[in-house]
Every structure is written in C-alpha cells, then in structure tokens.
Amino acid sequence: MVIDIDYIIEGFKEAIQLLIGFDREIYGIVFLSLFVSTSATIISSLICIPFGIHLGIKNFKGKKAFSRLLYTFMSIPSVVVGLVVAIMLSRRGPLGTFDLMYTPKAMIIAQALLVTPLILGLTYSLSKNRGKEIEKVGTTLGANKFDIIILIIKELKVDLMVNVVTSFSRAISEVGAVMIVGGNIKNRTRVMTTTISMMNSMGDYSMAIALGLVLLIISFIINSVIYSYSGED
C-alpha cells in the first residue's frame, strides 16, 4: 500500500495560510469557542467555589454518599449533558418559551452544567482536606461564616485556580454538548470542536488542522499557566 502523504502536507500548508492570513471564519470560530467556554467556566465557578468550600467544611448526614455521587458526576459524558439541556430548552420543553435552542446562550448553559460537577467536586475535595484547619483558625480569630469562605478561597487560591483552568480545558475541548444544543450552525454556533468533527467527515482537512493547531496552542498556554502557578510556592 502506498501512503499518499501529500494531502496531509497540503492540508498543513493551507492551515498555516488560513491562520497567518487571519481568515475571518476561523477567527470567528476561535473567538466563539473561547467566549462560550470562558463564560461557562466563570458562571459555574462563581457558584460552585463558595458552595463547594461550604460543603467541604460542613459536617452533614450522608457526606460520604454525597462525595461518591459528586465524584461520579465529575466524569459525566458531555453528550448526556447536551441531551438533558436540549430536552429542557427545546420548543416543547419546560424552558422552551425562552427560545434558546441553537444559540450561544444554550451552549454556555450546557457547558456550565458540564463543568459544574467538576468544579464543585474538585473544590469540595480540596476544602474537605484542607479547609477545616483554616476554618478553625478563622473561628478562633472571630471570623463569621462569610469571612471563613473568603479566607479559605484566599488560602487555597493557587489550587482553586488550577481546578478552574482544568475545568476550562474540559469545556473547550468537549464536542458532544455544544454539538447537540448549538447545532454547529455556520457563523452562529460553530466552535472549534464541532467544526473539526464536521470538516473531518467532509474530508476538508485544512480548516480542521488549523483549528486543531489552535486548540493545541490553547492547551499549551493553559498548561503553562497551571505550571507557573503551582510552581509559585
């Protein structure tokens, strides 16, 4: 069998041209991906970090069972989340009146839900292991419940940051949820992962390669950030 390597090289060449030529469509797609995943991660973090810390330091009935459930949900498949959100948002669904299906908003909701167990679980386990001691010191110095949550966030900020960034990478690299609720509509809901999977099935490799490269660069930047942060102390 003769392997035709030319079309791969050709694909790479065209990919580079698209990137350095600031192809509008490609950069629109990259921008939307970043926007959707960043929004989803921030929204989820704002709720899950304080809540996860609270749950971690609190003693309640069924804490063990709760942990197990939460950790299970951390690896929930993205298509399942996409499906659930689609059912909720579809015309006949409970939130159908808002007409959000196939919009970036729907994609943000889906990705926020997708990373919620992840951020909550990571925060919860961090707080469970290291929050108690901080809570104790805060309490003896006269801190109230709110002060203590703030104190724990500040004490664990490096680890929390790493968790948030990890969750962002999960969001930006998933394809199932955004495909189902976004629909991969050109110039509207098309993001990097859905484009790559579509272009691949169409046999149009140059754009897929270009976006693959961008995804790789983003992962690289993310990892550098994590390393420089966790190397801080």
Binding site: T139, T140, G142, K154
Partner: protein, 210 residues
C-alpha cells in the same frame, strides 16, 4: 468576665476524656493548666473556645452560656499554630480586618505589636514559610492585637529560645495588667507557670486534682 464550668464531661467514643465537676477561672487572672500528655488540656481549651461543641455540662461566661457572640471575645493559640499564606504583617492584621477596624488604627496597632514582639524583620515573610518559633511569636501577636477578653494559650512557647521567651511572657503579662485580659495557659514548663501564673490547675486523666 469569669468562666464557670459545671458538670463537664467529654467523651471520645465511649472513653471519658474530661470529667470536671466544678471549675472557675476568675476574671483578671493568669491561670496555668498543667498535667501529663493526654490528660485533656487541649481538649478543654477547644471546648472553651468553641472549636469543640460536643460535650456534656454547662460552661458560663459571666452569667451567660457560651454562644457565638462570646466566642468572638476570646481566642485560642494552638500548639502548632497555622499561619495564613500571606505576609506576617497581614497575618497579624487579619483579626482587625474582619472587625472592620479603621485602616489607620489597624496599621498603628499592628506596627506597635510587632515592635513589642521584636518581629519587625519577619514583616514581609510569608506565614507558611516561618519556622516553628517564628510562627508561635506571630500567632501570639495575631491573638493579642485585637485585645480579646480571654486568651487561651496551648503551650505557646514550646519552640521558643530563652530571649524570645522573655518577650512573650512579658507581653502575656502586659496583656493581663494593662488590658485586664484573662489568660488560661497550658504549659509543661513549671518555671514558666511560676513566673506568669496567679494560680495553677492540675489536670490528670481529665480530672482536676489540687
């Protein structure tokens, strides 16, 4: 303020750790709490300070039962103090910050106490990077800076060199004399108990022995 303990019992899974019929810690005193390892000294401090609320009996602060408002008037310095991952200066500032003390007064108080403890050189060092003795000094300063009514100390000078020991004892006594604060101090150092305490409580197997 005065602490009155009556019928206090503390169990750890069936095993009785503390069994105190009656105990009074008088206002304005420095009381030493001594006893062998495992006799329940730390447990008693944790109960008084509110870190452990799982006990039987009554503890009154003046005429009131312990409650959240009262816990805010006292503080506990633990055997191995935990310092925040921020500068020593900011560690000491923390209790004032959460009490929303005015910025200028805050600075003045922190500066003053650092000077008295002679820890000016630790000012910008990160709390979690301090040595054992340095941590103890900073954590005592952090406890005294907001002038609590009751100061609970769990072996506060176990890692301290003789020179610093003098400073710390001096500051504990100053707190007692000038601010009229009450002190309950756990120590294994009988000499220290003689130097700083007005009276001494012996604890053995969770019971007070005189």
């Amino acid at each position: 303020m005065e602490i009155n303990i009556a019928g206090l019992k503390k169990y750890y899974s069936e095993k009785i750790i503390l069994d105190i019929n009656y105990l009074c810690i008088e206002k304005g005193t420095v009381t030493g709490l001594i006893g062998p390892n495992g006799s329940g000294k730390t447990t008693l401090l944790k109960i008084i300070s509110g870190l452990d609320k799982d006990f039987i009996g009554t503890i009154k602060y003046d005429s009131e039962l312990l409650n959240e408002d009262i816990y805010k008037k006292m503080t506990l310095v633990t055997q191995k103090p935990y310092l925040f991952r921020r500068k020593a200066y900011e560690n000491i500032e923390y209790p004032l910050k959460i009490r929303e003390t005015d910025k200028r007064i805050r600075k003045q108080k922190v500066e003053e106490i650092m000077k008295r403890f002679e820890i000016g050189d630790l000012r910008d060092k990160k709390g979690h990077l301090l040595s054992g003795g340095e941590s103890q000094k900073v954590s005592l300063a952090r406890a005294l800076v907001f002038e609590p009514e009751l100061l609970l100390l769990d072996e506060p000078t176990s890692n301290i060199d003789p020179e610093s020991m003098k400073i710390m004892e001096r500051e504990i006594l100053r707190f007692n004399k000038e601010i009229k604060g009450t002190v309950l101090i756990v120590t294994h150092n009988i000499e220290q108990a003689r130097r700083v305490c007005n009276n001494i409580i012996h604890l053995e197997c969770g019971k007070v022995v005189y």
